[in-house]
């Protein structure tokens, strides 16, 4: 082949020359020296050898040696199922609990409502049990009123039976009742009296039984517990306005929004009945130290505010009168 052949053949002939880079080229020698310096660390080499052999055996046996990637962020199917089940259970329980609070006798969730009330009373500290029982009694009375308005007197009678049991329970723990118990029971008595007056014959017995139980419980609470500052207001009658500082404050038996609320809540007068009872009969549970005076603790701190819910008694600090 001559040098006048095709250019590709010429290039190929040139490239086929073996010593393109002569071995004595200084740069080549420097590169060889550089490569000679680049040796892996012996410890690293030994460790990598072991890892390679282990990985080979694992691959041969079909075992994955890949590091678990972001194991913390992954969840097994069982864990995921438990998480979803827990979420559904918690959501469902909360929904049922919330929905049951407006259930009426005869509704599917009414039993849940009663059970939740019982559980709440069971798990509450002893100081709060009486208030929870009063709240439960309030709920039964409200149910009786609603059922009576619907004309479902048989259901109202059944609710009255449940109210009887609650009132009996409250009467049995009069030594530990709070001041709101008597107020609530007086209110119940007034409401039940009105219901008995208008109830048909088939419901009168149950309502009368509930009325008697509430009356009895109220009397027991009044004798053994803290004495309320005043009696209940008859339904439809507005509470008297305090015309001077010495006049007793009305009892908090009227519910807000029912037209019985007083025009004003002065909150600056003493609570004579509280002070009189606490000073005159300290053994009844009232601490003498909380006896109010004209300049001491404000009235709102010792006397239920007019218009306040009997069960709530927000102005009454716990522990007073006990």
């Amino acid at each position: 082949m001559s040098l006048m052949d095709t250019p590709m053949a010429l290039i190929d002939r040139i490239l086929r020359r073996p010593p393109l880079v002569p071995p004595d080229e200084p740069m080549a020698r420097m590169l060889e020296r550089l490569a000679h310096e680049l040796e892996p660390d012996p410890l690293y080499r030994r460790r990598l050898r072991g890892e390679a052999l282990n990985r080979f055996v694992a691959a041969r046996e079909g075992i994955s040696m890949d590091r678990p990637r972001s194991r913390a962020g992954r969840m097994t199917p069982i864990g995921r199922a438990v998480l979803v089940a827990s979420f559904v259970l918690a959501t469902g329980a909360a929904s049922v609990s919330a929905a049951s609070q407006v259930a009426m006798p005869g509704d599917a969730l009414y039993g849940v409502k009663l059970r939740i009330e019982e559980l709440r009373i069971d798990v509450a500290p002893s100081d709060f049990k009486d208030e929870l029982i009063v709240a439960s009694l309030d709920a039964r009375l409200a149910e009786i009123q609603v059922l009576a308005e619907r004309g479902d007197w048989s259901a109202a009678g059944a609710a009255a039976d449940r109210a009887v049991r609650i009132a009996d329970t409250l009467a049995a723990m009069t030594s530990r009742t709070s001041p709101t118990a008597e107020i609530a029971l007086n209110h119940h008595v007034a409401v039940l009296e009105a219901l008995v007056a208008e109830a048909p014959a088939n419901a009168v017995a149950a309502l009368q039984h509930a009325l008697d139980a509430s009356t009895s419980a109220a009397s027991v609470v009044k004798q053994n517990g803290w004495r309320a500052p005043a009696g209940p207001n008859p339904p439809g009658q507005a509470a008297p306005l305090p015309d001077d500082a010495s006049s007793p404050q009305p009892a908090a038996t009227s519910r807000p929004g029912n037209g019985n609320a007083p025009a004003t809540d002065t909150g600056n007068g003493p609570a004579p009945s509280v002070g009189a009872h606490a000073v005159g009969d300290p053994t009844k549970g009232a601490s003498p130290s909380v006896a109010p005076s004209a300049t001491a603790a404000p009235e709102a701190a010792t006397t239920p505010r007019p218009g306040a819910s009997p069960r709530g008694a927000p102005g009454m600090p716990r522990g007073q009168g006990r």
Partner: protein, 209 residues
């Protein structure tokens, strides 16, 4: 330091497709080539895998070390290369190419991946090199101003020239083996090497900035 050899006793191995049948592997001879060791390793011989590792770890490490800047990077990449090689051994099928070509192809891909990742996070100020990056290959136990200049000059070669130099001088491959790895002809590799050395000579003749 010489590596302690695994026991020379014949080890049982499992054959593909019939994992219940245990046969005795024939160990390759002491002077077995890389391809013979690879064939034994593919058959399940653990000792052959160890010898294959001994034969390849130095060249692959040197090849990687000439392509990256830091010693830690070279060690990490070499480890990843052997993980891939060893994991793929049971599935490896010879296609007429030497096993070393496959191994260095894996190393080449690992280096390319590393370079791409390295480029994705450039230094805040490219004009100011970090001290660790400035030493480069010197950190891989190389000492001397001359070799440091060589490292700097290697960075200025084209990727193909760097690849050819790393395969020829780092891994110690022949032009044919390097060509099989790069997917080029041996003559192309020779030409790349020739031009790379010329470029290195020119770069090293220039005063350092």
């Amino acid at each position: 330091m010489r590596e302690r050899r695994l026991t020379p006793l014949p080890l049982p191995r499992f054959l593909d497709g019939d994992r219940r049948r245990v046969v005795v592997a024939d160990h390759p001879a002491q002077d077995a080539t890389v391809d013979e060791l690879a064939a034994a390793a593919i058959g399940g011989d653990v000792a052959a895998v160890g010898r294959l590792y001994d034969a390849l770890v130095g060249p692959i490490y040197r090849y990687v070390a000439m392509r990256v800047r830091h010693r830690e990077d070279a060690e990490d990449i070499t480890q990843a290369v052997f993980e891939r090689i060893v994991s793929s051994l049971p599935r490896y099928r010879e296609r007429g190419r030497p096993f070393s070509a496959f191994a260095f192809r894996v190393a080449h891909n690992a280096v390319i991946d590393h370079v791409r990742r390295d480029r994705a996070y450039p230094p805040l100020d490219p004009e100011v090199e970090l001290p660790d990056a400035a030493v480069g290959v010197e950190a891989l136990s190389v000492r001397g101003e001359e070799l440091r200049e060589l490292q700097s000059a290697l960075r200025q070669l084209t990727p193909d020239q760097q690849e050819a130099i790393a395969l020829r001088y780092g891994a110690g491959l022949s032009a044919e083996e390097a060509g099989a790895t790069m997917g080029r002809s041996a003559n192309t590799v020779r030409a790349l090497t020739f031009r790379a050395i010329g470029a290195l000579r020119r770069h090293m003749a220039e005063p350092l900035p």
